[in-house]
């Protein structure tokens, strides 16, 4: 089982030390990425997605504290690695595509320079690196890549820049690609194109993808497995069918209800989840979703729920609904 997963995160706890106390941004996070799979992470702003990504690539802020946990990648724990070892992995074995294509590339260096710079650990010649980059650019759909190789980021549109970012990330053929809301800043038509392209490339190259987004439609189309996060915790995870057809955590259910794509009848009032995301430095003692939940009991407030398996590969952090499911 272990060798079939390229990334296994167990019991990850990350906090940020601030003047107001420690913000517990991630609590008891377990996440597995099987070989060649696309795992989606869904959640609102503040649910811990960014912290999760930063933890994996080792770019947490200076005031971050990893209080417990392990992240086994290709056989060794990322958390125990030195900065030098991490740097060897970043951009080689683990690559990333960021959220905003307009600001993700250095404005005064040509895209060619940036793409070649990233390959600095590679022993091949400069021409070979150039050829590899140009090849990758054409694979992501950049027209006339030979000429445009020396162009600057501002000479490309947003959609093109995101493709370039994907090309940069995949040209080194990483084991794991982390996509941090790559289509959030793009309009719908571009989004579809990018997702399709990503899917094709992934099938060709066989890498695994950790796809973070709050766009449920994209997650449903692209991902094999889904992890739902709320307030720093994993509240539900399972296969994409499990999540979208048999959503079992109250938060996931609400999320699907509120997705505009799921609304069948025209209406003047869109459904929302009443209440607010909790403050991370003043965590409640019980379930984190308690104050916004329709299914809660008093017991939910008293003890912090553990994550339980309700069917094979499908886990939720809700004792109330877990009991209903398994009975």
């Amino acid at each position: 089982m272990a060798s079939a997963n390229i990334l296994e995160i167990t019991n990850l706890n990350v906090g940020f030390v601030t003047e107001r106390g420690t913000l517990k941004a991630l609590r008891d996070v377990d996440l597995t990425i099987p070989n060649g799979a696309i795992v989606g992470v869904v959640g609102e702003s503040g649910c811990g997605k960014s912290t999760l990504i930063n933890s994996i690539i080792g770019l947490l802020a200076n005031n971050a504290q990893v209080t417990s946990g392990a992240m086994i990648f290709e056989g060794s724990d990322l958390l125990s690695k030195s900065e030098q070892e991490l740097r060897a992995i970043r951009g080689q074995r683990i690559s990333m595509v960021s959220q905003d294509p307009m600001t993700a590339l250095n404005p005064i260096l040509s895209i060619g320079t940036q793409m070649i710079d990233i390959q600095y650990r590679n022993a091949s010649s400069r021409d070979e690196k150039r050829a590899r980059s140009i090849n990758m650019l054409s694979r992501v759909g950049i027209p006339d890549p030979e000429t445009r190789f020396n162009d600057y980021p501002h000479q490309f549109s947003g959609g093109m820049r995101q493709r370039i970012a994907i090309a940069m990330a995949l040209q080194v053929e990483p084991t794991l690609l982390i996509a941090d809301e790559p289509t959030t800043a793009l309009d719908a038509t571009l989004e579809v194109q990018i997702i399709r392209r990503l899917n094709d490339l992934q099938q060709n190259m066989g890498c695994s993808i950790l796809f973070v987004s709050h766009h449920l439609g994209v997650i449903a189309e692209l991902c094999d497995y889904v992890v739902v996060m709320y307030g720093g915790e994993v509240v539900e995870q399972g296969s994409v069918r499990d999540i979208f057809h048999r959503a079992s955590h109250p938060y996931t259910q609400k999320l699907l209800e509120c997705d505009p794509a799921s609304i069948a009848q025209a209406t003047h009032s869109l459904p929302t989840i009443p209440g607010e995301v909790p403050n991370l430095d003043e965590l409640p003692s019980g379930c984190i979703f308690f104050d916004r939940c329709d299914h809660s009991y008093d017991s939910c407030q008293r003890s912090h729920p553990r994550i339980e398996q309700i069917e094979a590969g499908h886990w939720i952090r809700c004792p109330v609904l877990a009991q209903q499911q398994t009975s």
Binding site: S98, T103, L105, H154
Partner: protein
């Protein structure tokens, strides 16, 4: 790119024309007889009438300005009132000294100021950062002429390591020796300006998303700092230096006077105090040209280094 260059040069010529016209008009707005002002009170009425005719002062003002500008375009800046040498010769004799002074001043300021600012930003909030901060503010606050005077007091009068006066006996080594203290005085304030600007600029760039991307791709820290951050952060300093030519020239005036160095600053000062108007006009004109050249040059360098500017216009 070429179009941009031509546009800037035309703008420069326009600026020079306007400045000269303004100055010419200012001189003629002085209450009283312009000829008396130009020649001084000692000239006799006949000479005044002669000069007035010869200088075309009986013509309307716009005609005079045009004539002056026409002369300038042909390279004729008029004649020195007292020594009867062409202003051209006088000014261009002195100009190189000022240029060497300004270049060496700003040169050492760049060599020291930019690395200081870079360190302060990379080690933000550390002891180095705070020290650089205080030093920068102090360098900016202390006036150039005081730095000049005190360096003379310390290094020339008290320690007798370096000369205090003049530009040397003609040999290169002597010239350089005489340039050390003046260049120090001119450059010290700039160390402060540059360090602060580079620090602020780098901090701003460091917070931008593309720096995170560069790190996320595992680039070596020194690559990230120098190729990806510093190169971008340096852009504002180019503009600052280009626009700072005004400050540099002011500093040059004080420095040349304190060190009794030859140069256009001292030339202007002496010309003004002796009411040698043609020399004043010629020097101010040359100064304005220098100013326009320097800002245009800075803009051009900016356009070369920052590709975003090239396609904007």
């Amino acid at each position: 790119m070429l179009f941009y260059f031509i546009k800037r040069v035309c703008l420069g010529i326009l600026t020079i024309t306007v400045a000269v016209s303004v100055l010419y008009t200012m001189i003629h707005l002085v209450p009283g007889d312009p000829v008396k002002t130009i020649l001084g009170p000692r000239a006799s009425p006949e000479i005044q009438a002669q000069i007035r005719e010869k200088m075309g002062l009986n013509d309307p003002l716009p005609v005079q300005i045009v004539r002056f500008l026409g002369n300038v375009a042909q390279g004729d800046l008029g004649q020195d009132v007292f020594k009867r040498k062409s202003v051209n010769t006088i000014v261009f004799e002195q100009l190189p000294h000022t240029i060497y002074l300004v270049l060496s001043g700003i040169g050492w300021a760049i060599l020291i100021g930019i690395p200081l600012g870079c360190f302060a930003a990379v080690f933000q909030n550390s002891l180095i950062d705070r020290i650089v901060g205080i030093l920068s503010v102090s360098c900016i606050a202390i006036p150039t002429f005081l730095v000049a005077i005190y360096s003379v007091l310390l290094f020339a009068v008290t320690l007798k390591w370096l000369p205090a006066i003049g530009a040397g006996d003609g040999s290169l080594l002597s010239y350089i020796r005489h340039l050390v203290l003046p260049a120090f005085a001119v450059g010290l304030g700039w160390v402060g300006y540059l360090a602060r600007l580079v620090r602020a600029s780098m901090l701003e760039v460091m917070g931008e998303a593309h720096v995170r991307t560069a790190r996320a791709f595992g680039l070596k820290e020194q690559t990230v700092v120098f190729k990806y951050i510093l190169r971008l952060a340096i852009l504002p300093t180019i503009t600052l230096i280009g626009m700072g030519i005004g400050i540099l020239l002011s500093s040059a005036v004080f420095t040349e006077i304190v060190f009794a160095r030859p140069g256009i600053g001292r030339l202007i000062y002496e010309a003004v105090t002796s009411r040698n108007y043609p020399v004043v006009m010629g020097s101010v004109l040359v100064t304005t040209v220098l100013f326009v050249v320097s800002t245009t040059f800075a803009d051009l360098i900016n356009a070369i280094v920052d590709p975003r500017l090239r396609t904007k216009d």
